[in-house]
Symmetry: C2
Subunit: 109 residues, 2 copies
């Protein structure tokens, strides 16, 4: 069993102002999926892209939008976002504070 | 893409005072894992048990403990708990407010 606080995990800056912490990963013994915590600075965005795996996402704090081929949908605390495989998406922070969310993906070897 | 707020999902009372919402599930098209949100009333606990799948857990609010064969470990907002397959565990609310956490499990057919 691993018990920690999320700030104990060192963040990686994947893109400018987009910080990712792998809070539960293969290195911890996770056999199937990886839990990450993202923190986006105000105005920052993840890339608008697609990939053959899903995202299961829960918004912890902040205000933003999820962008899909159908447009923008507002998200904030307690929002739940499921992005199926191969669907275009990005997350953008539209607020004045950090946009923080959990994002779980499968571990692919 | 599914975008909702977690209270939109109807809770199931798995055990007295232990409420589970399947916020992203196979019915939503999730291919590999299911995201659930648990809410435990003060004093309530999940059963102390084991099973052959893992839990990846993030504490949203409240105060409690995780119980393992090694004893009790305090948890609260921003705690991260990884429970490997086949490890004894339960979550107990030791606070005066609800203990709320995300818990992701694999979908097994």
């Amino acid at each position: 069993m691993k018990i920690s606080k999320y700030p104990d995990t060192k963040p990686e800056e994947d893109y400018p102002g987009v910080f990712r912490r792998d809070i539960i990963a293969a290195a911890d013994g996770a056999p199937n999926f990886c839990m990450r915590l993202f923190e986006l600075e105000p105005g920052r965005s993840t890339p608008y892209h697609t990939h053959p795996w899903e995202h299961e996402t829960f918004i912890l704090s902040g205000k933003g939008v999820v962008v899909s081929e159908k447009g923008e949908t507002p998200i904030d605390k307690d929002s739940v976002v499921f992005i199926p495989p191969d669907e275009q998406h990005c997350f953008t922070n539209k607020g004045n504070d950090a946009l923080r969310f959990i994002c779980v993906i499968p571990i692919v070897s």
